[in-house]
Structures are given as C-alpha cells and as structure tokens.
C-alpha cells in the first residue's frame, strides 16, 4: 500500500487528474489482454511528459516502489500488470508527435501514439511505419518497442527493432537518456537494441525516433483456400523455396476462419480447412511476375480457390479479418491460452500436426492463426474456466505445445515477448550463464530492481519468488436463480 504522502507527491508531479487511486479504477488496470494474469497496481500515474515520467520513477526509486509501464494494454504475455503492486505508469496521455522528417525518412513521437495513427499521418505523403502487429489499430508505439513487436509484414520488413533509430528513456536509476541517433549507423554499444524488447524491465521509453518507409509502388493481395492446414503450409514452404520474398504470408485454420467470419465478415470461405493470405509489394512488373508464380504454386498444392483482391477496399477487408481475429476469439471460446512459438519453416506441417494431436488428446479446441512465412505459430487453446478441470487440461496442453515446438528446434517466443507468461520457459532456451548475464545487464539500467519486477527473466528459485498465475475469475453460474 502507498502512503497518503506518497500519493500526494505523485499528484504533485502528474496533477490530481493524472493519478488513479480508487479501488475501482485500479482494478481495471489489473491485466492486459491476457486476463489470465492479474495484479492491480496500488496507483496508476498518467504523465504527459518525459520530465514527469522521470520524476515519478525517481520518487518510486527513493521509496523502493515497483514501477510498471503500460501502453494500450493489448499485450498477450501479462506484461502490463502489477504482480507486486506499485505504481503503473500509463503512457496513454503521451501522444505528441515531435517531428516528421520525410527528407530523412523518420519521425519522433511520444510512446502513447497509436501504431496505425502514425502510418495514417504520413500515408498521404507516400510513407508508412512498417511494424504492423495485429493490434496496430490500438497498440502504442511505446508498447511496440517494449515487446519488440512484429506483425504480418515483418516477414519482409523486419520487426520493431529494425525500425527504431533512437529512444529517449527514463532508466530504472532515474536518468533521462537519449539512445541512438538519426543516422542508421550505431556508434558504440547498440543500446537501442538492448532497450527494444526489454519489456519495461530496464526503463520507460518516453520518446521514439522511428524509421519511415516509402509506400511500395504496387500491392497485390491473394487469398488461397485449402482443405487442410498441412496443404497450406506445404504451399508456404514451396513459395519460400522458389525464392519469392512475400510482404506477408499468413495462415488461418478452420476455427479461426469461423471466428473471423462471424465477427468481421471478411469474405473468407467458411468451412474451409485453411486459408493463406499472401501479400506481395514492390515494383508493379516484379510483383505481377511473382503473383503468377504464386498462383501456379498454390494450384499445384491443391488450392481449392485462389482470389486476388480487385481493389483497395477488398484488400482492406481481407486484412481486417486477419487483424481483427484476436478480438473475435470471443466467438469461439470464453477463455484461452496462447503460444507464440517459432519453428523452422520446413517443420510447419509437422508442427501443426503435432499441436493438433496434443490438443485432441486433451479434448480441447485449438485454433491456428500464424505468420506462416516466419514459422511463427500462434496456437490458441480454447477452454471454459467455468467447467471443472478444463483450466488444468488447457495449461497442460499449453506446456506440451511449447515443448513440442522447442523440440523441433524452435524458439519460445516470436514477437509477443516474455512477460510473466513465458518467463519460466526462458530456461528451455537459455543456459544459466546466459540468464545470469541478462540479469546483470538489467542491474546496470535498474540497480534496485524496481522496473517491472517479475517480468521477462525467470526468477531465481532461491529468492522464493514464484509467479503463479491467478486462475481466471468465474462468473458464478446458476447460483442465483
């Protein structure tokens, strides 16, 4: 609990309207999209400038209070929740754009700026911001930096770290620093690279200088329909083997198609085993030739239907379906668990088969929506917390899914980050020495460990820290009739 003096001090920094301290208000900050993990902060601060963020962090540093940064709260790893209470720093009121420098193809924005709004602001002038996580209509650029977010188009354009030139941060030691520069070349240690993906465990990003890219001359979006995910993933392997670098190569299976069609109506064929959403961009002549080749590959891999978007409206609708999928999960299930494992692309068909077998053994529905081009899987395990035993089966299946992917030479996470959800799993990928080094690096930025404690790195068993999940609250059923 925070003392009244502490809250008064907080209100002095960010103004009384910038502090949320009521139990009702704090409750709504107890989880991000992954509602499985809950932990309400003792107070929420809504600063409007880097200076205010600095003062809040220094106040917490002085009092030894945890600081938990939060953007739009759309993460899926339990990153923006406060397992140990403390002060949550919400960046939603830091939405200024400081500079748009089209000649040098960069922009400097505050962390609360919404990803898609940056693209909207420069699109008319022929530019865009490449990282496009599915939540891009709501997620913040600060959050993108924290999780090193990817997205469908990172297959061609790379992930967030490839598009961040510099960062202004407040470290866990309370210093305000500028990392990186306008130039792409990095002089000295690449601290921007260290900061991006650090999930608020090193500090809080207070401004971001991002790269902007020229919009491609032409874009072509193809929807290919298959009777099975295996056929679709074989097609992906063949496209990549043919040397074509698509801008995006996305796959959705039958349950995912059902959710999208019920929730959004994107024109995907209901009942089909899988669809591939393939996008090509670049010089018109080049993509025309590539499209022909892709259509040929799809046909030879038993595509039932191949549709090329005829105009921008049709293309937007196809993407709206893909990007809105996460929000449409409610059409399939009341509760879910989500993996973000990456497998080598050649193992895709095998991985899908293995995952489906695991979920079948646990009698649970699993839906697949994945970045096929990178081998980045997103198996969604559907369960109902109100049914006895389902949560336990879901957690067991979740664990088995991840181990199966790692066994195929995969990685724990592709783009969502680690948070609390995957912290323990880091041991599957790194040795003790690697993890100990990361912990030392963390101490350089955050000597007292106030920044987003309990996230990213597995806690040391000796410290007695366990991050157990709080099982989802159930709405009692039938008790009141």
């Amino acid at each position: 609990m925070l003392t009244p003096e502490f809250l008064r001090e907080l209100a002095r920094i960010v103004g009384p309207a910038g502090v949320v301290a009521t139990p009702e208000g704090r409750l709504t900050y107890e989880c991000d999209m992954h509602t499985f993990y809950k932990g309400a902060p003792d107070a929420v601060a809504l600063p409007t400038s880097a200076e205010q963020v600095g003062e809040v962090v220094r106040l917490c540093l002085r009092e030894g209070i945890p600081v938990v940064p939060r953007g739009s709260g759309t993460g899926v790893i339990g990153g923006a929740m406060a397992p140990r209470g403390g002060v949550m720093v919400s960046t939603t009121r830091m939405t200024r754009t400081f500079e748009v420098d089209l000649l040098n193809r960069c922009a400097t924005v505050e962390p609360g700026v919404i990803n898609l709004q940056l693209t909207h602001a420069v699109k008319d002038r022929g530019y865009f911001f490449a990282p496009d996580p599915s939540s891009q209509m709501v997620c913040s650029i600060g959050g993108n930096c924290a999780t090193n977010a990817g997205g469908p188009h990172c297959l061609k354009y790379g992930i967030t770290v490839n598009h961040v030139l510099g960062l202004q941060v407040v470290t866990g030691a309370g210093e305000l620093l500028w990392l990186g520069s306008k130039a792409r070349e990095r002089v000295g240690y690449d601290l921007t690279g260290v900061m991006v993906g650090s999930e608020g465990t090193l500090g809080i990003v207070t401004a971001v200088r991002v790269r902007l890219l020229h919009l491609p001359e032409a874009v072509k979006t193809i929807l290919a329909v298959f009777s099975s995910v295996e056929d679709a993933s074989e097609t992906v392997s063949a496209i990549i083997a043919a040397g074509i670098i698509a801008a995006a190569l996305e796959c959705l299976d039958e349950p995912a198609i059902r959710a999208v069609e019920e929730g959004i109506g994107a024109g995907y064929p209901k009942g089909a085993g899988a669809v591939l959403l393939i996008e090509l961009d670049g010089p018109r002549a080049e993509i025309e030739a590539q499209a022909e080749k892709i259509v040929e590959i799809c046909r030879s891999h038993l595509a039932l239907e191949i549709r090329v978007a005829q105009d921008e409206a049709e293309r937007e609708l196809l993407w709206k379906g893909r990007k809105g999928f996460a929000g449409a999960i409610g059409r399939l299930t009341r509760n879910w668990l989500l993996q973000d494992a990456v497998v080598p692309r050649s193992k895709l068909p095998q991985a899908i088969r293995a995952l489906n077998a695991i979920s079948a053994r646990h009698r649970l529905l699993v839906a697949h929506v994945f970045h096929a081009g990178d081998g980045n899987l997103h198996p969604i395990i559907c369960y109902d917390a109100e049914q006895p035993g389902e949560l336990e089966r879901a957690m067991q299946a979740n664990e088995e899914l991840l181990r199966a992917c790692i066994a195929m030479g995969g990685s724990v996470t592709g783009e969502h980050g680690v948070g609390v959800d995957k912290a323990a799993n880091l041991r599957l990928q790194y040795g003790e020495a690697d993890l100990a080094f990361m912990a030392r690096l963390r101490q350089v930025f955050d000597p007292t460990g106030i920044m987003n404690p309990g996230k990213l790195l597995p806690s040391h068993p000796a410290c007695g820290e366990t991050l157990s999940a709080v099982p989802p609250q159930s709405l009692p059923q039938g008790a009141w009739v």
Binding site: S72, T74, M137, V138, L475
Partner: protein, 420 residues
C-alpha cells in the same frame, strides 16, 4: 436472488460480459477514452467493472457509478468489437441496477429527473416552451445572453445555449392521415419524437410530405407519446417499457413500416423486441422500424439542381445503433449539384447523447470542441445530421465558436431541392 452486486430483474447479460476478450480494439473508438486515456473510462474497462460487480469484487459504489455514467452510450465500441459484445444493452442493464442500488450525485438525479419528467410529456413540454418562446420573442434572451448572467449558472447556461429559435410555441398540427402521392408503396406510421416535435416541427412536416411523395400513405397517430429512449439510456427500464408498450399500441392500426426521423428514437424502437421479451407484438414492431433515410434513398423524388457544399455527421444511434451509414449519404448525393465533403471522424460522438450534455458538461464540451474543429476543416457551410440532439448540440457549438454553418436534418435539405 443476487449475483454479486446485482440482482433480478434485468441482470446484466452474462454471456455478453463473457464475450469480451479484453483485446482493446474498442479503445480508440471510445470518445471518453480518447479524451481521458483511462482504462476505467473505456468500454473494455467498463465491461471489466460490470464483470467485477457481477463477481462480487466491487460494489455499486459512487466511483463505479461515475465511470458508467460518464459513458455516452454512443455504442461506437459495438461497431468496433469483433466478438459482438452488446455493450449498449449491458450499459442500460447496469444503469438499471444503479438506479435501484446505486449512489448517484443529488444534482445528477435532480437534473435527470427534471428532464426525464419533461420530455416525454407533450403537455408539460408545451407549457414550458410557451414560456421559452416568450423569453426569446420579448428580447429577454438577447438581454440575458449579453449580460453574462448565465456564467453564474453553468448548467442552466448549457440548457439555454441549446435552445433553437422557436417559431411559435404552439405545436404545429399534422393530420392523422396523409395520402400517398404517385405510385403507392405502402402504409408508414410516423413517429414524431419529443425533441423533434417541439423544437423542429418542420422536420416532421417535411418527413410526412416526403414520405407521401415517395409513395407512402402516412399514418400519424395523435395519441402517440415518447419512445422511451432517454429512460432506457438512464436505466429507468420500467418507465422505458411503459412508453414502449404505449407506442406499440398507438401504431397498432396496421402499418407496414414505422418511420423515425430521429436516430435515437429509431435505435431504441429496434430494441423493443429485446426489452419486451416474450411480447410478439414488440418483436414485430421492431422489425418494422425504418429510418427515414432508408426509405428515401432510392425513392422516386423530383429533385432539381442545388449548388451546395455539405458535410454529414453520423449520429451515433444511426451509425452504431442501427448500422446505417450509406443511406443518408446516398440520399444527399441524389441532389444534383450537391458536393458532399466527408467529415473526418464523422462517427465520433458530438457530445449530445440524449441528456448527457446537461449531465456531464465538461466531457460533452470537449467532444463538441473536437467536432466543431473537424467541421471547420471541411469548409462546408451546411452540416447535415439525422438526430435532433446532434442538431441542437452542433448548432450551439458552431454558433458559440463563430463558425457560420447551418445545421440541418437531411429532409430539410432534401425539401429545398424538391421541384414539386
């Protein structure tokens, strides 16, 4: 019979609450989140609070009530939600619980009681408007506005500022039946509304005339009262049901369609089937509801060219509540010579929201500010929108900020282009 802080009847829809997957796609669409950037003043946060109350984790406290009352009920979040959370309904059910168990500020209760006790009752409203017309025509309004006296009573000022010039305090009378002109398409019942009937009687006249021209025989029952929308949004569910039953009975004389020219009324009437669950007449009634723009968009109307640049503001309860966006634009585009300039964020609430602009002035003002600056960007001198609340709000906003625009209902602009 309790479920957490709630009880029967009208328990918030549990499946509706469960459908929320906490993705946050609704956040940027929510007007109050746009202004405040706070989770508990976003749709996702409000659903979370409702859920927590159902789980018994929070009570119906003053803070709980504040965050739910700050919602405009615009339902932009429903348009955004891929999981189909019926937010409007959840809000109304929860406000019903607040009415029964909650802690509303006295001033809030007083103002809501005053307005809700006035609008649905034509007799009471007419008597008040007689006084208002006298206030305007005697020159007193000019004196009061010039004196700055209103600054002493901001809520009164908010109400005063909304007043449009009233032609005559006497309600204009429409016949009970207007015959169809030209090829007959059916029989339409016209809902007069409360605000529309007294502040904009011309709009009802023109609606009847245009419907007749479009081939509808127009039935205008004398004994019709309020649709109950304002009560529904305030959580006075039983009162809303009484009004709904009354309106259904008033149109029971065999109409093919029930036509609304106020988005708020139309939206509420489409929900009668839900609120009067088990009454087949209510379901039938809801299915017959149409917005005037739906009927006129492809009707045969003799229109002559008119050089005008207009922009269109989507009323929340048309765009989000009834999912009608195309028809009003199509209707305007039928006027030869009219240039329709798209308004940026045309479906972001203007802050009117029923009686919201009287109860939550500060938020309403910030949204109005945003709306007026967007309108200024278009350069249009005519703003068209199909809800009387929006017309009053936007007209006041533009007037106070010195933006010379005319705010019209679509039928008013259409009527000017009639060559009949």
């Amino acid at each position: 019979m309790k479920l957490g802080a709630f009880d029967l009847p009208d328990l918030p829809d549990l499946d509706g609450i469960r459908a929320c997957v906490h993705c946050g796609i609704c956040l940027p669409q929510c007007p109050t989140y746009r202004v405040l950037g706070e989770e508990m003043d976003s749709p996702r946060g409000r659903i979370y609070l409702i859920r927590a109350a159902a789980e018994g984790r929070v009570g119906i406290t003053e803070t709980f009530t504040h965050h739910l009352d700050l919602c405009l009920g615009c339902r932009a979040c429903e348009t955004a939600c891929p999981s189909g959370v019926p937010f409007g309904r959840l809000l109304e059910q929860t406000r019903g619980q607040i009415e029964r168990h909650g802690h509303r500020r006295l001033s809030h209760r007083f103002l809501a009681g005053l307005t809700l006790g006035l609008f649905p009752y034509p007799g009471r409203l007419a008597r008040l408007l007689a006084i208002v017309a006298l206030y305007q025509h005697s020159g007193l309004q000019r004196l009061v506005r010039a004196s700055g006296l209103l600054r002493l009573a901001p809520r009164l000022a908010a109400m005063e500022g909304l007043l449009p010039p009233l032609g005559s305090w006497r309600a204009r009378e429409l016949p009970e039946l207007v015959q169809a002109t030209g090829r007959r398409r059916g029989r339409a019942g016209l809902v007069l509304g409360c605000v529309q009937r007294y502040f904009f009687p011309r709009v009802n006249e023109l609606t009847a005339r245009l419907l007749s021209l479009a081939g509808y025989e127009v039935l205008i029952p004398r004994d019709q009262e309020c649709c109950g929308a304002l009560h529904l949004h305030a959580g006075r569910l039983d009162q809303a049901r009484r009004f709904a039953r009354g309106l259904i009975a008033a149109f029971d004389g065999g109409v093919d369609l029930v036509v609304a020219n106020a988005a708020g009324c139309g939206s509420a009437m489409r929900e009668y089937g839900h609120w009067l669950d088990g009454d087949p007449r209510a379901r039938q009634f809801s299915l017959r509801v149409r917005d005037i723009s739906e009927l006129l968009a492809d009707a045969e109307l003799p229109l002559r060219p008119m050089e005008v640049t207009a922009t269109y503001h989507d009323p929340c309860h048309l765009a989000h509540g009834q999912r009608i966006r195309r028809e009003p634009r199509a209707l305007l585009n039928r006027i030869p010579g009219l240039t329709l300039v798209e308004l940026a964020e045309s479906d972001l609430c203007c802050g009117s929201a029923g009686i919201y602009n009287l109860l939550e002035r500060e938020m309403a003002e910030r949204l109005l500010e945003l709306k007026v600056s967007r309108i200024a960007e278009t350069g249009a001198r005519t703003v068209v929108t199909g809800n009387p609340g929006c017309v009053l709000q936007i007209a006041r906003g533009c007037r106070e900020r010195g933006l010379a625009v005319e705010v019209l209902h679509p039928v008013e602009l259409l009527a000017r282009a009639l060559s009949y």
